[in-house]
Symmetry: C3
Subunit: 126 residues, 3 copies
């Protein structure tokens, strides 16, 4: 169910990108109980003029490796689960492929369960 | 009012892409009463390393032709209308340009009517 | 906190794009009290077949310079503030880089404050 959109600067390898998607997906499974194979993700790559970020907002020192991760999910998780997700994504991505914890920005957009169709034109969660 | 974002694998023709946007727009008109010319849509194209999906989630057999369709709409539709939209998008896209019903993933994000400005800096629906 | 996604037709200069991001950010500061350096923005560029819009919806005459601006923000603003934001974005962009007021489409997606992580895997606003 999560629909994950990740924006980053251009120039990373396919292997690096696949690792990022794998780790974010594993973090979703571990903290949001996302089922096996429930995985829908895109990465958009940007040049200097189309990717812009505050280099020190909240005294966090960001680099050009910053990921902007926006996850659309069902509105069924509480604050604790969201905090667990944020922490787990960062733990995993700092291990593989080895990002800095400062370089991981995450935003959740929540929708009712009836707002998903996974194929065949049905609202499978309604 | 709907803002439609479609993600797909790179490699399809402009004609194929235009047909997809036309059919999704027609389905919105027919089931969500979207007015004539109320049409704002983008497609993003992805390579193998930036487009990732569960090939069998919910026992639906997806191929590389998968579309990830995210529609931001006003929060004025009920479940029946959402189900009608999902079904209509799939019916239309399977006819033209001829997608498999398994390859159509849809997600709705809902916002209040006051959250739109269609030009001139006004909130035309507020 | 705002996560800003702007879609436009391909072919504009980096200078033009940077000006757009600067002006939208300034408008957010002035009307939504966005703090200094709280700035996370991307632009996606599209060809003819991947960018589609109603040329006259609501009798607004749009050109290929149209911007589709989608801002994800915390759900703490009232209608007046939203109207002020829309007006300010348009005022600024018509001055610099000199867009037509008809060519600025804006949509807000609102999320609870706990839905953001700005780094280190923490929910800094929770």
């Amino acid at each position: 169910m999560p629909l994950t959109r990740i924006a980053m600067k251009r120039g990373k390898s396919a292997d690096y990108q696949r690792k990022i998607m794998d780790q974010v997906y594993q973090a979703l499974c571990e903290t949001f109980d996302v089922p096996e194979d429930d995985r829908f993700m895109t990465i958009s790559e940007h040049g200097d003029a189309t990717f812009d970020f505050g280099k020190n907002y909240l005294d966090i020192d960001r680099s050009d490796d910053l990921l902007l991760i926006q996850l659309t999910v069902s509105n069924t998780r509480n604050l604790e689960q969201k905090q667990a997700l944020f922490a787990r994504i960062v733990k995993r991505l700092t291990e593989t492929p080895g990002l800095r914890p400062e370089d991981i920005f995450i935003n959740l957009v929540e929708v009712p369960k009836e707002n998903w169709s996974f194929g065949h034109g049905l609202a499978q969660y309604a």
